[in-house]
């Protein structure tokens, strides 16, 4: 305490600071948050690419009286690993976003349990079911990771565009290809799986050695590869061939134009399927099952392309027009057994790293 008027300056400063603290506290975030898990909320744990419009969740609340709380936990790998680590005290009730490259780890650890579901689109989801899964994971959406090319760039050059994986290692396509790093990026890993599926367990290192000899560029993530290095990504890049998604081309329709300037090579695709499920030990398992059902409803399925750039599993909803025209998926994508991915992920990525490509 300050008892002396001679120290009014100090006192004034204290008062000023106190006033500032109180003023700042007025715009604090504490207190604006929602409380813990109540009986009328259901908590959805997901990755950081997840998003659905609020209106969609409002529909769910109208139908069930339940409020959805969304918590996101980093990328897909972080999400699954955090679920494994917190299995005894789960982060929420339901999960969305476990893809087929991480699914086995989630299933082995038993972080999701089968639930009683009633969605009409369930048979569509089962068409994407994982081998050996007893229904704990339910497919919600999917997408193809494919090599994309800048058609405008190839039209302006004398070069015929590449079409297959083998083309990418031919000398005329030297220094034209960029891919995200498989260690740090999920589309990058999907492309590594493509090459493993295509060249076999013994052949793929040779393929990557050939890619390296052909001056492939390895970017840290999709953003870096597509937005910076790709010629059609707007970042002034100089690589006209890039690993991206089958759904990327519609976004390159120029203003005033009607045709995209890029296309996906459908013979180079790996299919990613994203699943949802009810978490083991959920506080509100019934609400979680209702939420998983809801993710398969037309309301959500219709919103998925616009919100998350993936394709809905349900056959009862239509794709956006430009997707239907310009973003077909592969008819025969490459696949790798999810159990093999779970077993060999680290080994494959260590081998890839040792090749010194990126």
């Amino acid at each position: 305490m300050i008892h002396d008027h001679r120290h009014r300056r100090g006192a004034g400063l204290v008062a000023l600071l106190a006033a500032a603290v109180l003023g700042l506290a007025g715009c604090s975030a504490v207190g604006t948050g929602s409380g813990g898990a109540a009986a009328d909320t259901v908590t959805l744990v997901t990755h950081d690419s997840f998003w659905l419009p609020d209106e969609v969740f409002e529909v769910f609340t109208e139908q069930t009286g339940l409020t959805v709380r969304v918590v996101s936990q980093g990328d897909t790998g972080s999400l699954v690993n955090q679920l494994v680590l917190t299995k005894d005290a789960p982060l929420g009730d339901a999960v969305f976003g476990i893809d087929n490259t991480f699914a086995s780890r989630a299933l082995e650890a038993g972080v999701v349990v089968p639930a009683h579901l009633e969605a009409p689109a369930l048979p569509d989801a089962r068409a994407h079911a994982l081998p050996g899964d007893d229904g704990a994971l339910v497919a919600i959406d999917y997408g193809d990771v494919c090599v994309n090319i800048d058609d405008a760039w190839f039209a302006a050059s004398d070069l015929a565009p590449p079409a297959t994986l083998d083309d990418l290692v031919r000398p005329e396509y030297r220094s034209l290809f960029v891919t995200p790093n498989p260690v740090t990026s999920s589309p990058g890993f999907a492309f590594l799986l493509t090459t493993i599926a295509a060249s076999g367990d013994t052949g793929w290192p040779g393929y990557w050695t050939a890619l390296k000899a052909n001056d492939v560029q390895v970017a840290s993530g999709w953003t870096d590869a597509y937005q910076s290095a790709f010629t059609a990504g707007g970042g002034g890049g100089d690589r006209p061939v890039v690993v991206s998604y089958a759904s990327s081309p519609p976004f390159t329709v120029p203003d005033g134009g009607s045709t995209p300037t890029t296309s996906a090579l459908l013979d180079t695709c790996f299919r990613q399927v994203e699943h949802a499920g009810v978490l083991a030990g959920a506080k509100n398992p019934d609400g979680a099952a209702l939420l998983v059902d809801f993710l398969l409803s037309d309301t959500v399925q219709q919103a998925i392309p616009g919100a998350m750039y993936m394709y809905p599993v349900s056959t009862s909803v239509a794709l956006p027009d430009d997707w239907a025209r310009w973003a077909p998926v592969a008819t025969d994508p490459f696949t790798v057994d999810p159990a093999a991915v779970a077993t060999h992920r680290e080994e494959w990525l260590n081998r890839w790293t040792d090749l010194g490509v990126g």
Partner: protein
Amino acid sequence: MLGEPTPARLRDRPWVARTAWTLAAGVPLAFLVVFFALPVVAMVGRGFVVDGAVDLTGFTEVFSRPRTWRVVGLTLLQATLATVLCVLLGVPGAHTLYRARAFRGRAALRAFVTVPFVLPTVVVGVAFRALLQPSGPLGFLGLDHTLTAIVAALVFFNYSVVVRSVGGLWERLDPRAVQAARALGASPLRAFFTVTLPALAPAVASAASLVFLFSATSFGTVLVLGGTRFGTVETEIWVQTTQYLNLRAAAVLSVTQLVVVAGVLAVVARTQASRERALPMIEPGRREPDAAGEPGSRVVTVAAATVTGAVVVAVAMPLVALVLRSLRVGDGWGLDHYVALAAPARGLGVSALEAAVTSVRVAVDATLIALLVGGLLALVLSRRPARPGARRALAGLDGLVMLPLGVSAVTVGFGLLLTMARPFGLDVDLRTSPLLLPVAQATVAVPLVVRTVLPVLRAIDPRQREAAATLGAGPGRVLATVDAPAGLRALGLAAGFAFAASLGEFGATSFLVRPNDPTLPVVVFRLIGRPGLDAAGQATAAAVLLAVLSAVAVAVFERLRSRTVGAQW
């Protein structure tokens, strides 16, 4: 005076003072233990304890891989190069921006060089790549995906740490010591090396340790500009934890990181202990630096200004590239991306402006927590207890408070998930609570607060306190009259850094933020990860908004600094 002054009562009852000091040390320590140390121990423990038994074979396994040694070597190399460069460039910067005669726009320039410090790495990565890739304006340098590019980016981020830290001390240094040396015939250079530099040494050491910590734990920059080829311990921990779930390897790497960081901090602490002392300071605003005449200082001034000018241009380049990209609309130019910031972004649900409000709110909470915890810690650390045991304890604590900057955000983030399910047996799941975000950001800001406030308190001449005590002031009174005025102003300045650091924080945020309530860096990250030129344009516009916000915050608190004595950060 109103009756019997409190201090005298305090003197009669020493246990009151002792209790007060115990609380002052205990509260912040408890905070750091609960929200930092325990999570880290829990996470590392998961890697070393297998089926209830301690298993340390991970060490032999991890260290038998050649890659591990390469990664440790690269971490040290990158961090050391960045630190050395930051110091070499930052000391001239401190001279020009703080010591030399004031010039028009100096305050703006001070705020400007701080902007990179708060930019999200993903944005800086994009800006740097746009400059460095073969088709970019600096493509001819061939720096894309090289160690040089990484080090350049680290210097870009951390340059201001040295400038502010050293500048803060330098501007208050009494010029008469140098004048005396010059009068006795020392050359300007000799005077600098024998008088000025030793006086600045604690600030340089303090700044260098911060830069080293930031550089050694940098994650996004390394990945975007170098790729896994230039992997560091930090990127390796991220990969092992989030991709492989190899907790054994992650735990070994976390311990390695801790040992490296602690080693560096110990070295710095030794340097500081021998140097840090009360310095002859001048009253703020009572000085005309060059006018007072440091003969021959013109050469020094011009040389420093030249270096600083070059650095400012270099710092400006990625920022200009960023602004240009945000103004690029289709084939032309326009403000469309900025207009779009007010509308809910596709795929986000909130507008960038709403996210900015969230960011500010979280940053306010984080700042308040960091000021309370960091302020108390600085106060405790500034004491000079007589007992050697207490002195050693304080020296240890001094290093300890820096650790949150030196430990991987992934380890802390995952650790929080392990320990915050039912903290203290309470039935509150803090892991998904909005409270955890500002708390996590505050643990990162606490070291900045301590490093800002502590040197100010230590620079107070102990004789001032002794004089006050002799005149009858008790310990509480001495605190209120001697320490408080300087300390509170330093706290105001620290608030600026804590606020800015929290505003740009992304590591812990990415694990803790709620997707329908994102902060601005998260919006930038999401937008830039989306297809379409508009999304990228909006992302850069949002990044520019973030940069402007933090520059304004820093500039506002800079005004406080002009009345602050010798803050060192």
